[in-house]
Subunit: 234 residues, 2 copies
């Protein structure tokens, strides 16, 4: 897996990053030497979250906390980790802060839990997927990538390698490649090119299946894609 030294110099803003998924990604990327900005509705909360990761990783950690819009303006790699019910309104609000050429990596899953239903069921999204909804709401000069839906937030927040592949879907090949490189920085994760953004609808649904399996079997499930040549996992 080739690592791109350029990414370490480009901060990753994790928008809505104080939840388990955002904190887990932040932890893993900061450990890998990436520069991370945790975004939150409240600057103070973001800074507290950043300080918690700093304490865990040590002085060399490059992490800070900002209010979401400020985080958005300070980075051109934006990782979105918010519940589906907050996704659209947040993106509308952040749109003016996004800089042209930015990449928005969306991990949103339209779980029915967002409207009081079950986390093992999904809502239908008019555009086909939460990621395609995101693509409609960002400036045209921002590329949307769907990825990281199927990683267990609990395991991300721990110290062990994960046992899960990350299927990356995007209509922008360069943005998809950068995202796969970021995925490969998480120990135990293999990135896979999942093709166009429209395929995100299936990857999002898989999360609901995994949530159901977690409830039924008491685990922290993930997926591995088997049967592909080594060239597929990069």
């Amino acid at each position: 897996m080739s690592t791109n030294p350029a990414t370490a110099a480009r901060p990753i803003a994790i928008i809505g990053g104080t939840g388990p998924a955002g904190m887990g990604l932040a932890l893993r990327w900061v450990r890998a030497g990436e520069t991370v900005i945790i975004g939150s509705r409240e600057q103070e909360r973001a800074q507290q979250a950043a300080a918690a990761i700093q304490r865990r990783v040590g002085d060399q950690a490059r992490i800070s906390g900002m209010e979401n819009s400020a985080a958005c303006a300070a980075a051109d790699i934006l990782m979105l980790t918010v519940p589906f019910e907050g996704q659209a309104s947040l993106l509308k609000r952040l749109k003016p802060a996004m800089t042209a050429g930015s990449i928005l990596i969306d991990a949103t899953v339209p779980l029915a839990a967002g409207v009081g239903g079950r986390a093992s069921r999904t809502l239908g999204v008019w555009q086909g997927s939460a990621a395609q909804q995101a693509a409609e709401l960002v400036p045209t000069e921002v590329s949307v990538v769907a990825a990281f839906h199927n990683l267990s937030a609990d395991l991300l927040g721990g110290d062990n390698p994960l046992d899960c592949d990350v299927v990356v879907c995007s209509d922008d090949p360069d943005a998809a490649q950068l995202t796969r490189e970021l995925a490969a920085k998480i120990p135990g994760v293999r990135p896979i090119d999942g093709g166009r953004l429209e395929n995100a609808r299936i990857v999002e649904q898989i999360t609901a299946l995994l949530v159901g399996l977690n409830i039924r079997h008491k685990g922290h499930s993930g997926i591995r894609i088997t049967g592909l040549p080594p060239s597929a996992y990069r």
Copy 2:
């Protein structure tokens, strides 16, 4: 994995079984000592398919070929391996031949290829999934189980162990358990209880994702579910 000696005495009728998926399942089950009836629209074609498997497995193979309705009447474990576009009409036609207490295992995936679209996309099914459509079309005394969607037909038809889990969904726990036992008879397959039949919609969709990955990366992809305790895989 406990094996149920009772299943070997109960024939499995593979309805629409002369295609790659049906032939692959037949091969694996006959090798495992199960009794299989290949069903086809034409009795002669079914018998030719059965003879081909007999030649491959040897004299001890318990396999025969029948017209679909006859196969249906002769067995109470029915495995359906037909393209989505043929599923509903076939089930309506077979309904009178199904005996009360039968189990219908449905592996149908509503691929858009069925209406001239892409095999990496799916059609929306009013009932939620092809399996739920099947459940509406069979007699009420027949239990529907959704399983085997994600196995590569090419690999099933080969001699090597597979590298794929089979997520089994059903509203009938006993039928689901019997199906998981049948799945465990295929080398390399781990069955997983996927909960209610409605969850089949996600498992069906995964096949479209795998088809897309196969096209993009030139492989025969499958899935493994990670992160669950051993008790989940049985």
